[in-house]
Amino acid sequence: MQDSAARADDPFRIYGVTLGSRLLMGTSMFDSPAILADSARASGAEVVTVSLRREAGGSRAGQAFWDLIQALGLRVLPNTAGCKTAKEAVATAQMAREIFGTPWIKLEVIGDDDTLQPDVFGLVEAARILSKDGFHVFPYTTEDLIVAEKLMGAGCEALMPWGAPIGSGRGLNNVFGLKALRAHFPDTPLIVDAGIGAPSHATQALELGYDAVLLNTAIARAGDAVAMAHAFRLAVEAGREACLAMLMEPRDMAAPSTPVFGKAFT
């Protein structure tokens, strides 16, 4: 069978770009730049997330990181991580567009420090401003259907609901809600962003019909990040393949898989 990541009849299109991989990888918390680079290659990801942070004059850490990412030849998705107001997020997005040279922005407006839950009101406000300004907004949101509607109305062409709080590794906390969102927006690119801790979580998201997953901590903080990156690659491919193959419906009662007809001693 053809490699699912390269299936010509199963493109993952988002904001007019066709991606071969349904795994988007964060670049934070790796033990070294070399491990980050090897993990990115092992994951098969074509998109990596990046950020902007303060740096003292004379330091060139930021430039060194940017050189590394550029050498990998991957598409970047800058984020607005840590922003707590629409105004902060908009300014950060504008700065990111200038530095990274892309209209793509992973829009985060954080409403709570403990859960890192998105402030969906600020999120919609920022999404509207940025979409009008030509950005291609990837909003980090909840699975709330009405918020999703508002984000689409604000100009978003993709949604990124959380699976669980960022960095928690708890998987898909609200499968029912995520299924409802998928059913409500059958043609919108949907990416589970945050909370994925194990490859099985990623597989589950793809099995539910989600188009892709975005994760960072589960790879970066694994005992062997490079091996885990490859495990996630396989998990995402398996989940997508399973989705396309259409899973059986669960049932409450047992049903023998071996034919009953012809059994001896009956």
Partner: protein
């Protein structure tokens, strides 16, 4: 003039954002700038005048999730 740069108090002589970057040693580093929470494009930095108590952000690429 006393301003804040990246959240820290800073006494500077520069009167505009472009000069400030030189004064603080950023040189040709890849940075993006904001003045009082408003983005300032690279080409507009020389026209971005500084005033007492202004807040400047100077950001560079970094790892992100």
């Amino acid at each position: 003039m006393n301003i804040r740069v990246n959240g820290e108090p800073c006494r500077v002589t520069s009167r505009d954002l472009a000069s400030l970057l030189d004064e603080l040693g950023y040189g040709d580093a890849t940075v993006a700038t904001a003045l009082n929470q408003t983005f300032v494009r690279k080409k507009d930095r020389a026209e971005a005048k500084l005033a007492e108590a202004d807040e400047v952000e100077i950001l560079t690429p970094r790892q992100g999730g």
